[in-house]
Amino acid sequence: MVAESISFIRRSANWFLASTAPSQLAIGFTLGMLIGFVPKTNLIALSLCILLFSLRCNKGLGLASAILFSLAAPWTDPFAHKLGLMALQVDTLQSTYAAAFRLPFGPWWGFHNTVVAGGLLLGIYAAIPVYFLSRIFFSGVQSVFGQKPGARLGLDPERQPGATE
């Protein structure tokens, strides 16, 4: 019974983590966090999604992270709104913003929205520490759950020469 449970946990962890390096997991997680903070009905969110699917990172973890951080958005939105409002009210940048806004597709980007701008800034600000922390975390997790029997003996196919990390 215990063995079956452990096997199930191992399989689940592998589904998310297997065949993926900690850095790729961390990139996926960080991009997902960025997507989660930003409202979705604009080109910024769409670009982030395209970026997520374009980069070599863990998409599953990225989507899960995006969903997780989207659920947390009601708590982060007030702060994002204040941050975005502050950023968008910088006097010296008004003409730049206006010029960008007047460009074709300018309003579609949605950067004139306080929560979009604030969420993006918040995400960018948090991205670097989150990336490093998550990388450490996933390395630890992988070391616990990711090793397969026989890996130390050089029998793990992902450790074979030519396998991508």
Binding site: P39, D77, Y97, R102, P104, P107, H112, N113, T114
Partner: protein, 593 residues
């Protein structure tokens, strides 16, 4: 290089592109359908359903089919349906997240038939019912004279009451004569009775005295005087009886003189002040007009409320605030610059095809800074032209309605109050023109209606439901062939002050005056005949009573006289010795003196 020319290279890629294009086509259609349904539902406050949608990007064209606007109260029923909506979208504003429809065409519009059960339900609604008692008319036409007309009709009813003969001078005089005669008769009866009683007593006393003359010496001595007194009373009574015919004749002459006053008195009794014809117009038309005006005001207020709610209500799904940068102008989310309309409707009960144009219809009229214009034109049996503007660009909202409708078939109308005076206007052909401006809360404008080939059928209330009046009124109103009505709007939407002018009021007033005059004359004649009959009957009765009284009393007096006569002849004064007589002969110092 050769591999680029082989079908193995092109076919899968071509198929992929085709699938992507097809998916994009379907997705664009779905997105357009969803966007239309959401934005129009938000705008109209009612669910909008779209059956089919197609986007043709290279033609900048969007096509929607089977559009329905759901009834806000009953979501499964549509209040408006359109077969097809074709929009030509300007591509450039799309890059700036704005939808601008340069031209469009909405065809096959038809409105759902009116749910009569709901209308009846609304009519039986206590709130609505309370407004049918004249309060709605009072709201729109303050001081329109409902009370004055009700008073006038009540006055007419009172004047034409049947039982007013008692007020005539001759009847009053004859009644006084009858009362006087009754008193006089009673007095004579009493006197006669008294005489009879006294005579009887005298006879009895005389008989008793005769039996013992010595004891009743004094009585016997006084009896001639008593008899002469009684005889004098009998004579006086007889004289009174003799003068009775003369008195009655004098009374009869006074009654005849009073009868001459009756004519004047009856005339004055039936004299009715002329009814105010424009008050009567208000009385007849105010309630009916007020209902239509109230509906119009409700529509205008509803439009304004929904517009205000749209501008005030924050978007529920919107996160954050859109910042407007310096030098950027806020724009309306969507604008329809020109939309041709075509549909069918039932106007005045007739199916009519109509066309129209809607201009500068936008999600935020204040941002669009142009006035919404709607022009509708219907040809055929009911030529109609409607021009409406909804201006939300200024501080105060401004709405105008200009309507011109020729040859409209108007249904039967019931005007007034059936309990007092009502006029039923039969189906007619009319011309309706209206020019209404609502600026802020201020209401102004004019509505004119000219009806031809009208047939007026009056109905008088219970008290005045007299055949003579009804027939005369009907006859007079049958000559009226056309009606003109003008309503001048004023005041505000919440406190309107409108006035109504119509040829209906003067026509009905003239007819009712004529009918009342005719009925009054007939009534007066009947009144005088009735009074004469009553007077004659009373006088004849009095005369007969007097003759009877005279004859009965005369015979009684004769009887009394006959009874007193023997007494008078037998009761001579007695010459007997009496202490006095004897005393006079005796010496003064006699002991017997």
């Amino acid at each position: 290089m050769m591999r680029f020319l082989g079908w193995q290279y092109w076919l899968p890629r071509g198929l992929t592109v085709a699938v992507i294009a097809l998916a994009a086509h379907v997705a664009l259609g779905l997105v357009a359908r969803s966007a239309l349904m959401r934005s129009m539902s938000d705008y109209l406050g009612s669910q909008v359903r779209v059956g089919y949608s197609r986007v043709v990007p290279w033609e900048h064209r969007v096509v929607f089919k089977n559009l329905q606007v759901a009834d806000p109260d009953q979501r499964n029923q549509a209040i408006l349906e359109a077969d097809c909506c074709e929009l030509l979208v300007s591509p450039e504003p799309l890059l700036h997240k704005q939808l601008v429809v340069q031209t469009g065409r909405l065809t096959g519009i038809h409105f759902a038939p009116l749910d009569h059960s709901r209308v009846e339900k609304q009519a039986t609604n206590p709130k609505s019912a309370s407004l049918t008692d004249g309060s709605m008319g009072e709201k729109w036409f303050p001081g329109y004279g409902r009370e004055a007309n009700t008073r006038w009709l009540a006055q007419l009813s009172t004047r034409l009451q049947k039982d007013t003969t008692a007020r005539l001078a001759s009847v009053q005089r004859v009644e006084a004569v009858a009362a006087s005669w009754s008193r006089q008769s009673a007095e004579l009866d009493q006197q006669s009775e008294q005489l009879s009683l006294e005579t009887k007593k005298l006879e009895e006393a005389y008989a008793a005295a005769e039996a013992n003359p010595l004891r009743n010496d004094e009585f016997l001595n006084a009896i001639p005087r008593t008899i002469s007194e009684l005889q004098a009373q009998c004579m006086a009574l007889a004289k009174k009886l003799e003068t009775l015919p003369e008195k009655l004749e004098a009374e009869r002459r006074s009654v005849i003189a009073a009868r001459r006053e009756d004519e004047q008195s009856a005339k004055s009794q039936l004299l009715i002040a002329p009814i105010d014809s424009q008050n009567l117009s208000g009385y007849l038309l105010a309630d009916s007009a007020a209902r239509s005006l109230d509906d119009l005001a409700a529509i205008v207020q509803g439009l304004r409320e929904s517009s205000k709610n749209r501008s005030l209500a924050p978007a529920a799904h919107k996160r954050g605030v859109d910042v407007l940068f310096a030098g950027c102008k806020p724009e309306s989310d969507w604008v329809i610059e020109n939309l041709e309309l075509q549909g069918t409707a039932r106007i005045a009960g007739q199916p009519t095809e109509w066309q129209g144009v809607l201009r500068d219809f936008s999600s935020s009229p204040a941002l669009h800074r142009k006035t919404l214009q709607l022009r509708l034109r219907a040809a055929g049996p009911v030529p109609l032209e409607l021009f409406t503007t909804i201006d939300r660009t200024g501080q105060a909202p401004r709405d105008t309605i200009v309507l011109d409708c020729q040859g409209i078939r108007l249904p039967e109308l019931a005007l007034g109050n059936t309990q007092e005076l009502a006029v039923s206007v039969g189906p007619s052909v009319g011309t309706l023109s209206a020019s209404i401006v609502v600026e802020g809360e201020k209401l102004s404008g004019e509505i004119q209606l000219v009806q031809r080939n009208v047939r007026l059928l009056p109905t008088m209330g219970n008290k005045l439901a007299d055949e003579a009046i009804a027939s005369s009124l009907e006859e007079s109103l049958a000559r009226v062939d056309s009606l003109a009505t003008r309503i001048t709007l004023g005041g505000t939407l919440t406190q309107p002050r409108c006035t109504v002018w119509s040829t209906l009021g003067p026509a009905v007033a003239e007819a009712i005056q004529h009918a009342a005059g005719k009925a009054g004359n007939e009534h007066r004649r009947a009144l005088l005949v009735e009074a004469g009959k009553q007077v004659d009957e009373r006088l004849t009765l009095i005369e007969r009573q007097m003759t009877d009284l005279q004859s009965s009393h005369q015979s009684r007096i004769a009887d009394l006289a006959a009874r007193l006569q023997p007494l008078a002849s037998s009761a001579v004064p007695r010459d007997r010795l009496s202490p006095e007589r004897l005393g006079r002969r005796l010496p003064n110092n006699s002991l017997f003196r």
